[in-house]
Every structure is written in C-alpha cells, then in structure tokens.
C-alpha cells in the first residue's frame, strides 16, 4: 500500500513540542512513491484500512455523540466505574495476531488494545504524545528522533526503551518476518539508532514524510524484546506470548471461538487523546468470532454479547428501536465503494459511454433498496469523513436515463438487437464485470450488482458477471481484462486518490489504478497532494482530482459510503473510535 506524506500542515518539521505549529512549505520533500515499493497487491474489496488511521485515537468522541442515530438513554453522566467484563462480537477472525505480519483490519482493531504506539493521531489528523513524549525530524525528512517515556514497562516487566524500538522495527524490516503491511508502513527504513536509553533515531534511505502517520498505527506497535527473542515465530498464534505495553494483556485465543484480553493493572501511559489515565476500566474484554450475521445480532439482542460489529442493514431499524440498545454509525474514511471504469478498453474508452453509465444507474434507489435506507449513496470517490472531501459534487450528476440514452446514441450505439441491447456495427454493447468468489463478498454487493445490471439493461447495456476463482479474478482484474472494477479502500487520507488515479499506481506494477490510463493532470495533482504539507494546496488539488475523475473524465462511479455499524447494549459506556472508525476499549466501562 502506498504511502502518503504525513498529512497535516500542522506537522512541525523540527519541534519537540508536538503542539507547536509550523509549516514545511510546498517544497517539502515527498514521501517515497512507496507504491512502487509497497506493491499493494489485490484490490481491497474487504475494506482495507491501512495505514491511514488505525492509529489515532478518536479525540474522545463518545459513542453516542458520534452517532446521530442513537435514540438511547444509555449515555448518562454517571461516573465511570472500574471492573466488569464485556463481550464484543465481530464478523471476521484474524488469520494471524502478529501485528508486524498481519494485513487485516481486524488484527489491528483487536491488537490495538494490547499494543501501544509512539504517538497517537486524533480524528483531526493531529499527533499527540504516547510512548514518545516528543519527536523531531530532519529537515529532509530522512530521520526521525523520538524521546521516549521512561516509566513504561511491558507486561512481562521488561522496560520499554530505545532498544525495544530498534528490536521491533528491525524485526518488521527483516524479510524473514514476511510482513504484509507493517514493512510497507516502515517505508525506506534503514535502521534505528539507540542514541541513549530513551532516545531512538529512526533513519530512512530517502525522505519519508508519512512516517508519523505510519508509526501511530497498531501495526508499528511494540512487542517486548524478550518475547521477540523467545517466541518470534509463534506471535501470530495469539495468547500470552503476545506481550505489549497496552492497557490489556493477551490472555488467550481459542481458534474459531474467542479472544480474551485482561486488564493490565500497571498501565499508566495512555495517550492524551484518551478520556482518562491509569488502567483500563474493564477487567476483561472478550472478543467473539461470529461470522453469521443473524447469530451475531441474536447474541447481542439476547444479551450474550454487549457489542456487535457489522450489524446488517436489514437489522438496524429493529435494533435502534429496541430501548436496550443503540446503533453507532461511523462512515468509513477513504475510498467509498466505487465502480472504476477501465478506460483503456473498449467500449469504455469512449467518454460518452462512461458518462452514460454514470447517469444511467439509479444509485439513489439501488442503494436505498438494497441497504434498507441505512447507507448513504456516494457522490465522490472519497468518503465524506475523509479530509479534503469535496461536497460540491453532491447532486452534480444525478440519475438521468434520458441523458444516458442520448449519450449512447451520440457514441454511435444506435442499433438494437432482438433482446433490446444496443449495437454498433453489429456488435452488442457488453460490459464485463467479474464478481468475487462468495467468501470475499461483503455488504451484499452481489445483490447491489444485480440492481445495477438491471438499470444498465434498461438503457440497452448488457452486463456480464462471471464468477471466477479468486486466483483468476486477481489475474483478470490486475491485467486490465475487465471493464468494471469495484472496490473500497478505507483509509483516513485523501491520498487514496493517488492510489486510484495516478498512473504510477499501475496494477501491472502492483498499484491500484483501475482506469488503466494515464492523465497528466491527475498525475500532477495527486503527486502534489502527497508531497506537500500545505493544507490549502492539498485541499485545492484533491478537490480538482475529485471533480476531474467524476465530472470531466467520468472515470469512476461512486456508489455508496461504507459504514462501520456497531450495536451497543446500554450497559456499555465510553466507547470511542479512532480516525478509521475502529473501536477503542480503553475508556469503555460497564454499568
């Protein structure tokens, strides 16, 4: 996954005080075009929340403030109480619990409770001290020096120090670790220098602007050097070998069933983004793996778990009406569910056909029908919760079947065959849009696809949806052999636009640019966005990109805004979210 430059202009090039603002200016060196290095493999259909923001802690946004839909009396002003335990039902089970190896969202979300980061990012994109009290970086962004807290201990008693930083980062960078995400987050890492016991200097072979963001994610969290020495190969199995500094310790993992985390009573180094200090309130946190939607919801409503994630849209209304529960919605930042057009391949090499498809899909109705009115339709390839989202696109390209027909006539698809599909020179207008194998389909996108298929049929376009094996699917999609490519890419960062539309993000080289064309303007704007720290410049270029890809070039049809939807029993208080809309349990209490 590609990197982005550290994002806010508030970032201080040289400062020990993270709250001091200064600007790097437009000349700031760019992050490495890491996608070349990071070769993010397959398109993320399962919302990929990378690097963008697992890390940052939501600035104390209490759950119920965050969720407008809440009807519940749950959030009283009662004082938090310590003790008790809570069960949280999730829909996917991590393949590995080794944060340095894993690429899954769920690994990051669960392990965030066990592992701390050097710094914390809030939902405004600002950085705060955590295990590091201060940091500074070289003007050319090729090294970062962190001053560490001196009172931090891993739960096995090992002190956290500069050596621990070095051991962990070196482990991530070692090819033998086979890191799928963390190593790409480390970028052009060359090493960590232990300046003194509590000062660590991380160096890179070239300027690496996105490092602060990266280092705030759980994937660059810290294992006790002792457990790395003894258990490096088995950290992925979960359980007590996964020793961190976090507010919870990893008590046990029963594959196929649950994870149990227990309060770390010595925890006293929460980031400033948290609501309290000291140990977590909960004595125990159990994460249950319930992949069946109806079972997960049933477990919640029958009181067998206190929280459940990924509540299906069909159940939301009933759950929200139940006085014992609230439903927390958070729209996922980053790329929405987009259908990207392969503009290098006929018939979508014709802009009129692309525009006709954009306007010929009744997105409002389709999204409303399939998701029971629970998801918002999208207008931009960026989610509204992403920095630099351009709201001016809203209602700028509404459904218009008549216009779509007209555009197709203009494009020369004027004939009709016996089945009512449009033809040109005897060729039928056909779109090839493979569908993922069932195991990978989320959010009933296969059903949504049927609605889209029907819309396009009514303007005379045949949409074929073969369902190849995952291996063939990846080959076809990345080989540019298909007409449509659909995916989301969750990340708290508009730089996903670089990923989607910069020609350097070529799928043949491991990128994600499903348009398969190179547009000089888009390249320039997306490059500018990732190499400047100036907020105004970034806003300008990202707005331009969004307008150009949707309106001017019609390279993409944004469909809907994916959401993190969590059902919460009234007994649970203080749940917060990080910038990626992932749950944080440190401030949660039960009562």
């Amino acid at each position: 996954m590609p990197y982005r430059p550290a994002k806010r202009s508030q970032m201080n090039p040289i400062s020990n005080n993270p709250t001091t603002l200064s600007h790097a200016g437009p000349g700031a060196p760019s992050g490495p075009s890491s996608s070349q290095r990071a070769s993010a493999l397959p398109l993320s259909h399962l919302s990929r929340r990378g690097f963008g923001g697992l890390a940052g802690l939501a600035l104390l946004t209490p759950l119920l403030d965050a969720c407008g839909a809440s009807t519940s009396p749950a959030e009283t002003s009662a004082k938090p109480v310590s003790g008790g335990s809570v069960s949280y039902a999730v829909d996917t089970e991590p393949v590995t619990f080794d944060i340095h190896v894993a690429s899954q969202d769920i690994t990051g979300e669960i392990c965030r409770n066990v592992f701390d980061s050097l710094i914390a990012e809030d939902t405004n994109g600002e950085f705060h001290p955590w295990l590091a009290t201060a940091w500074e970086y070289a003007p050319d962004l090729s090294s970062y020096t962190f001053t560490l807290r001196q009172d931090v201990k891993f739960s096995d008693g090992t002190p956290f120090d500069a050596n621990a930083v070095k051991v962990n980062f070196d482990r991530i960078a070692a090819p033998s670790t086979k890191s799928q995400l963390a190593s790409s987050l480390l970028g052009p890492y060359t090493g960590t220098e232990v300046v003194d016991q509590y000062t660590a200097k991380v160096t890179f072979s070239e300027a690496y602007a996105p490092f602060l963001q990266a280092v705030s994610t759980a994937y660059l969290g810290f294992y006790s050097p002792k457990t790395i020495a003894a258990n490096s190969a088995t950290l992925g199995s979960g359980g007590p070998v996964d020793v961190g500094t976090g507010p919870f310790t990893f008590t046990s993992y029963t594959k196929g069933q649950s994870v149990v985390l227990t309060k770390n009573p010595d925890y006293d180094w929460a980031p400033a983004t948290s609501a309290h200090t000291g140990p977590a309130y909960l004595d125990q946190l159990t994460i249950r793996f319930l992949s069946e939607d109806s079972v997960r919801v049933g477990a919640l409503t029958s009181g067998q778990v206190a929280l459940a994630r990924a509540i299906p849209p069909v159940n939301i209304k009933a759950l929200a009406a139940n006085p014992g529960f609230t439903v927390a919605h958070r729209s996922d930042p980053g790329g929405v569910y987009n259908i990207v057009f392969n503009a290098a391949k006929a018939p979508l090499d014709d802009i009129n056909v692309r525009k006709a498809i954009q306007r010929g899909i009744n997105i409002d109705l389709d999204v409303k029908t399939v998701y029971f009115g629970q998801y918002d339709r999208a207008w931009s390839p960026l989610s509204p919760s992403t920095p630099d989202y351009d709201p001016s696109l809203e209602n700028a390209w509404p459904y218009d079947a008549a216009l779509a027909d007209q555009l197709l006539d203009t494009a020369g698809w004027t004939g009709r065959d016996s089945q009512g599909y449009r033809t040109k020179n005897g060729q039928r207008l056909v779109i090839d849009w493979p569908i993922l194998p069932p195991a990978y389909i989320t959010d009933q996108r296969d059903i949504l696809g049927q609605a889209i298929q029907a819309d396009l049929k009514s303007i005379g376009i045949q949409v074929n949806r073969p369902q190849p094996d995952i291996g063939d699917y990846i080959t076809e999609i990345y080989g540019g052999q298909t007409n449509f490519i659909d995916f989301t890419w969750a990340r708290f960062e508009p730089d996903v636009l670089w990923l989607f539309f910069n020609s350097a993000s070529n799928p043949a080289n491991g990128g994600q640019n499903g348009t398969f064309i190179s547009d000089a303007q888009l390249n320039q704007w997306t490059n500018t966005g990732r190499t400047t720290l100036d907020a105004a410049t970034r806003k300008t270029v990202y707005d331009e990109v969004q307008k150009r890809v949707v309106l001017d070039l019609a390279l993409v049809t944004p469909i809907y805004v994916p959401e993190t939807i969590i059902g919460v029993a009234n007994s649970v208080h203080g749940l917060t979210f990080d910038p990626n809309a992932w749950t944080l349990f440190y401030d949660v209490w039960s009562g």
Binding site: M1, R37, A38, S39, A40, L41, P42, L43, S44, H45, L46, R48, G50, V95, T96, D98, V101, S103, Q104, P175, K178, S179, Q180, L181, S183, S184, A233, T234, G236, S237, T254, K255, G256, Q257, S258, R288, F289, L290, S291, E292, S294, V295, G298, A299, T301, S302, G303, Q304, L436, P437, A439, Y440, D469, I470, G471, D472, Y473, I474, T475, G510
Partner: protein, 310 residues
C-alpha cells in the same frame, strides 16, 4: 482369531494405500486451482511488498516444478511431518490436534443423538398404527430435507435468543454442545429412522417373529430382541458412512454456532489454498473413513453370527 488378525493387517495396508491416494489427489486438485499461489494465499486484501512475495515464493518452493514440490511433500509426509500451514504459520499437526477435540465432541454427540432418536422413532412406529407412523415419517422427511444451516438458525432463535436456555456459540461447556449437536443429528436421525423402520417392518413379517410370539414373548420383546437385531445390519453400514459425513456437516454447523473445529479450519484452508493444511485435513478424513469401515467390519461379526462361521 488368526483370520481376524490377517483381516486387520490387510485393512491396514489398504488404509495406507487409500491415504496415499487421498494425499496425491488433494495435491493435484490444489495444483489445478488457477491463479498465482502467493496471491491466493495473501487474499484480495493484502498489501504485501514484492520482497515479501519473493520471500514467500522461495520459502514454500512455489518456484520449483510441480513434480519436485510433490516429491518434497511426499518425503516430508513419509517422515511424519505434516508441514507448516502457509497462512496460519503454525504446524499443521498442532492445528489439527487443537481443533479436533471440539469437532470430535460434536460429531460423537450428534451420532449418539441421531441413533437414539432414530431408534425411538422407528421402533415405536414400525408396523403400528398408520396415523402415528405417518407422523413419524413426516418429521423424518422434514429433518432429512432441511438444510442444517437453517435448522441451526431456527434452534438458535428459539432456544438461545428467545428462551435463552442455551448459549449462542462457542465450545466452552456441555450446554454449548446441545444445539449444534441437535442440528447436526436431526437430518442423520431422519435417514436412519427411515432405513431402520423399513428393516424392522421387513423383519416383523418374517415367520420367526410369529414363532417367537407363539413362544409367549411380548410384542415389545420381539421387536427389541429379534426384529431390531435383524434390521440393524444395514443401519450399521449407513451409520458408519454417515459418521464420516459428520466431518463435512460440521463445516456449516461450526460456522453458524461460532464453534472452533475441523470444519471451520477446512473452509479456511481450502479458500486460501493452504496446501499443507488441506492435505493434512484430507489425510485425517481418509483416516477416519478407513477406521470407521474397519470397526464396522468387526461389528458385523458381533451382530451376525453367520458371518463368524464363514
């Protein structure tokens, strides 16, 4: 007794051949799945770097010819090493042994339940009042034709979500076993009951039944002692065969009830083309089938004295 030992020895040789064949077929099947093995392994969500991909390719020998991979693989198997799961990065043997317990527990409980339900349903209704018999046949038909996925959700909704008698999921204690065991047992019980009833009714029509009744045995004694024994040979064959299929049935039931086990592991292994794990599981199933059929052969001898003489 000597004949018995010889029989067992022959069985063992045959078992090894079956397992070798199963391992080979599994290997070939996985080779036939299209797509780059590293990409499939990482899934559509990965952002692994090119260096990581290379590392994985080299470590697992994906760059070697298939024949070489196969020989390496056989060599390890012969030495009793099932290898390391590509995706989970853990020894296959320990993964299977860790997950086998809950599945064995579930399968055994389901089997016992199925046999008991079938016995009660068939013995009580075979050749008796048509109305009662029709009710039994109807429930059996429904049980056989209902997908276990649907039955599971139904049982959960009634007994876990509404009545809250049993926990929704997991494998923590006995109460968590009840619903999944019933879910798995019902369709099997349906099949067994139908076969058993048919056998019973055939046996009850035999002349020796009349003789037994004439000797003064009660109707129930005749059923349980004589007719049932006759009817149970086909039942045994079928039970053995269905026991093997319990492993497959566990895939769905374990998913619905959020239970750990072999079923869930198999699904994951096949989806990600995790060769060592798939083959380990195939070997396990082959072993279970072979073991069951061996045990059955021995049980036939116990039930039917005529076979012993031969």
């Amino acid at each position: 007794m000597k004949a018995l030992l010889k029989g067992v020895a022959q069985r063992l040789v045959a078992a090894l051949a079956v397992m070798f064949g199963a391992a080979t077929i599994a290997f070939i099947a996985l080779q036939l799945i299209p797509g780059d093995p590293v990409a499939t392994l990482l899934g559509p969500q990965s952002s692994a770097t090119a260096a990581v991909r290379r590392q994985i390719t080299l470590q697992y020998g994906f760059n070697q010819p298939v024949a070489v991979q196969y020989l390496h693989y056989l060599n390890r198997l012969v030495h009793g090493d099932l290898g390391q799961s590509y995706q989970l990065q853990r020894p296959v043997a320990s993964l299977i042994s860790e997950q086998l317990g809950p599945t064995a527990q579930l399968a055994l409980a389901a089997l016992v339940l199925a046999v008991v339900i079938a016995l009660v349903s068939a013995v009580a209704t075979a050749g008796r009042r048509p109305a009662l018999r029709a009710v039994a046949v109807t429930w059996e038909l429904i049980a056989v034709s209902s997908p276990s996925y649907w039955v599971g959700i139904l049982l959960l909704t009634a007994f876990s979500f509404q009545l809250q008698i049993f926990p929704v999921a997991g494998a923590q204690d006995f109460s968590a076993l009840v619903l999944p065991a019933f879910t798995l047992a019902l369709p099997i019980a349906g099949v067994l009951a139908q076969v058993l009833r048919e056998g019973l009714e055939a046996a009850l029509a035999e002349p020796f039944i009349v003789t037994a009744r004439a000797r003064g045995l009660s109707q129930n004694a005749v059923r349980l002692r004589h007719a049932l024994r006759h009817a149970s040979v086909p039942l045994l064959t079928l039970t053995g065969w269905l026991t093997g299929s319990l492993l497959g049935g566990a895939v769905l039931v374990e998913a619905v009830f959020g239970r750990p086990g072999i079923g869930a592991l198999t699904l994951q292994a096949v989806t990600s083309k995790d060769m060592p794990l798939v083959i380990g599981l195939v070997l396990l199933s082959a072993f279970v089938f072979v073991a069951i059929s061996t045990i059955l052969d021995l049980l036939y001898l116990v039930i039917d004295p005529r076979l012993r003489a031969a």
